[in-house]
């Protein structure tokens, strides 16, 4: 069953057709990768999914509900979490505080005037946040300034923050961009583990074919704003159209 259903999305920026008749269906509890050369419209599509951009036409259904016209925070509360290309965390806050915020957002919703009781009294939230930090191997950094951490740690913190909300769908925007090989492999292992442990659907935009083929169960190839093919990784690898449009040059380069 599809948890995310994108139908006939069109988006124009002035004279540029960024997305043209995009149809995409992501099955529940699958890992779905969206690949394509630069300028293929991957980021535009992602921004439509999280409510940052409103498409000109088409529909986006998440779990039977339309997400179009909703604000990013409302879409997030529906169960879609997003990991950014460069980790977006609260740099001025400690790691623990970074972790607490999504836990509060999960418990209290998009706004709660919880202004009198101290944070330390909210045992349930604190325990959950500490548990997440332990699970993600970040507990040693608990009281560090999050801006001072390494990029790999920031990435793990961001993923942990997204997972703390128990999302149904996790969107990752090139999560390993700019990472060293070892960090990339750690991230792949982390995502695999998340997939095993949780009922979660993962949609991932990625340049790195190593990451894509290690994780994805289905792959959609986007080119010039339109889906070219959608298939299993094995079929994609051998697909002549894909090879021509995209993979060929990448593999040669590699």
């Amino acid at each position: 069953m599809a948890i995310l259903d994108v139908k006939n999305i069109n988006k124009r920026f002035g004279g540029l057709q960024a997305l043209g008749d995009v149809n995409l269906s992501v099955a529940e509890n699958s890992v779905h990768a969206i690949i394509g050369p630069n300028g293929a419209g991957k980021s535009t599509l992602l921004n439509v999914l999280v409510g940052k951009l409103i498409p000109d036409t088409g529909s986006v259904m998440f779990d039977g509900q339309s997400v179009l016209g909703r604000k990013p925070y409302e879409i997030n509360q529906m169960g879609i979490s997003r990991v950014f290309q460069t980790p977006e965390i609260f740099g001025d806050l400690t790691v623990m505080e970074n972790m607490l915020i999504p836990c509060f957002a999960k418990r209290d919703g998009s706004f709660e005037m919880n202004a009198i009781a101290s944070i330390t009294q909210q045992r349930d939230v604190i325990e959950k946040a500490e548990h997440m930090l332990e699970d993600m191997n970040l507990i040693d950094h608990r009281d560090d300034h999050s801006a001072s951490m390494s990029r790999g740690d920031k990435r793990r913190l961001e993923i942990a923050m997204c997972l703390a909300q128990d999302p149904r769908l996790l969107l990752l925007d090139e999560p390993t961009a700019g990472m060293a090989r070892a960090d990339t492999n750690n991230t792949i292992d982390l995502l695999k583990r998340i997939k095993e442990e949780r009922d979660i659907t993962i949609a991932i935009i990625e340049h790195d074919m190593h990451v894509v083929f290690s994780l994805a169960e289905r792959i959609t190839v986007l080119a010039q704003g339109t889906p070219l093919v959608e298939d299993t990784p094995d079929n994609i690898k051998g697909h002549p159209k894909v090879r021509e449009a995209y993979l060929g040059e990448t593999q040669d380069a590699a």
């Binding site: 609260f90 740099g91 999504p102 998009s110 706004f111 005037m113 919880n114 202004a115 009781a117 923050m161």
Partner: protein, 401 residues
């Protein structure tokens, strides 16, 4: 204690002690000594310390936590003042209803202005708040004269109705604002061998309000709500993608800080039942910005320190004239004495604002964390020396063992 952790409780008690013993602390010099001009323990000034303390604490909840720099907060203080004076005119000379209504009116006013201004951020937000405050100021000084008294200001009069307790006091005069028989201007004096201490009713009422305001700000700082406000300052994008709606958070902070400003304005009117449009002018908004930054934005105690610091030096510096300077430097040879007086002259007396501007620049350039950061640095300096000394003693012990 009081739902605070040990460190905050200590800070809270320090503030209580400072407020309670201010009449002593501010008057450390005997009345007829040469140093008496540095005494600040008279009611009018002490009232200003705590009232501006409240104003700055409130401003800090908005600016210190969310980073939204409002250049129009004086509008709420002015609105609170007007509301309080009207209460003193219409209902009763008792200050409690006046103070309560000032908080409510300022809160409603802040809700309106905040709802519109917070649609933008950064400098656009600053300009919007500035524009609203300047509008309020211009209208209060002109068209709204029936409500605000225009340029002469609004004050209590013999012709006021004062439904609950009548227009005149026993002597047939305009009654002074009071609290169940005590007047705000009542003071008790205590003279001890050359020292003179003044305990003023109005000061202690305002001081009590500041203690409550400070306590509430600690609770807000330590609450999930306070953390969310800091998160707004840090990364709004992540806030949105974590399912949090930033608008109501910033609006709540704006309204709370507007209510603090209203409380300060109401207390001002309670101490002296007079409200003028100049309280709303942008220079007054700028002053609370200075106080908060100078003390340390985003810290608990900083705004209180900043307010006290500015109000103290404003008062003391502006009293120093050339005669005083000549007294100070009298021990120098004549030529040098005159030279020193000439050098110092532009910075004191009427030139106090020059000193303030220079100090403020120095703080922004060298101490972005304000006086609080300065204090921490000094403490760390001593702490490190102490630790180093401890280590040395440890090292010297080891071989002996």
């Amino acid at each position: 204690m009081f739902g605070l952790n040990a460190k905050d409780t200590r800070l809270f008690f320090i503030v209580i002690a400072l407020v309670a013993f201010a009449p002593f602390l501010m008057n450390p010099f005997p009345t007829d000594s040469a140093m008496a001009q540095f005494n600040a323990g008279y009611p009018d000034l002490m009232q200003r310390f705590v009232i501006f303390g409240i104003f700055a604490i409130g401003f800090n909840i908005l600016f210190g936590l969310t980073g939204y720099l409002s250049f129009g907060h004086a509008a709420f203080l002015g609105a609170g003042s007007y509301a309080a004076v009207w209460m003193l005119k219409l209902l009763t000379i008792n200050v409690i209803p006046a103070i309560m209504i000032s908080v409510i009116v300022a809160g409603v006013f802040a809700l309106l202005i905040g709802f519109i201004s917070l649609r933008r951020s950064g400098i656009y937000f600053s300009i919007l708040t500035l524009a609203f405050a300047q509008m309020a100021f211009a209208l209060a000084a002109s068209v709204l004269t029936p409500i605000t008294g225009g340029e002469t200001g609004l004050q209590t009069a013999l012709s006021d109705p004062r439904i609950l307790d009548g227009a005149r006091d026993a002597g047939g005069n305009i009654p002074a604002p009071g609290l169940w028989g005590m007047e705000m201007r009542d003071s008790a004096e205590w003279v001890v061998s050359g020292w003179q201490f003044t305990f003023n009713v109005g000061y202690y009422l305002a001081g009590l309000c500041m203690i409550l305001a400070f306590y509430l700000s600690i609770r807000i700082f330590r609450s999930p709500f306070g953390m969310m406000l800091r998160a707004v300052k840090s990364n709004q994008q992540r806030m949105n993608y974590t399912g949090l709606n930033t608008r109501p958070y910033t609006l709540a902070a704006f309204v709370i800080s507007g209510m603090y400003a209203g409380l300060a304005g109401g207390l001002m009117a309670a101490m002296d039942p007079l409200a003028g449009a100049e309280r709303m002018q942008w220079t007054a908004s700028g002053e609370v910005v200075l106080m908060t930054i100078l003390g340390g934005a985003g810290t608990l105690i900083g705004p209180v320190l900043g307010a006290g610091f500015i109000k103290y030096f404003e008062n003391i510096f502006s009293k120093i004239n050339d005669n005083v300077l000549h007294q100070w430097f009298a021990f120098m040879p004549d030529g040098i004495e005159d030279f020193l007086v000439t050098i110092v002259h532009p910075f004191v007396g009427k030139g106090w604002h020059l000193t303030l501007g220079l100090m403020f620049m120095a703080v922004v350039i060298f101490l972005p964390g304000g006086l609080v950061e300065g204090g921490q640095r000094i403490a760390r300096l001593f702490g490190r020396k102490k630790k180093a000394a401890d280590k040395e003693t440890d090292a010297s012990k080891t071989p002996a063992e």
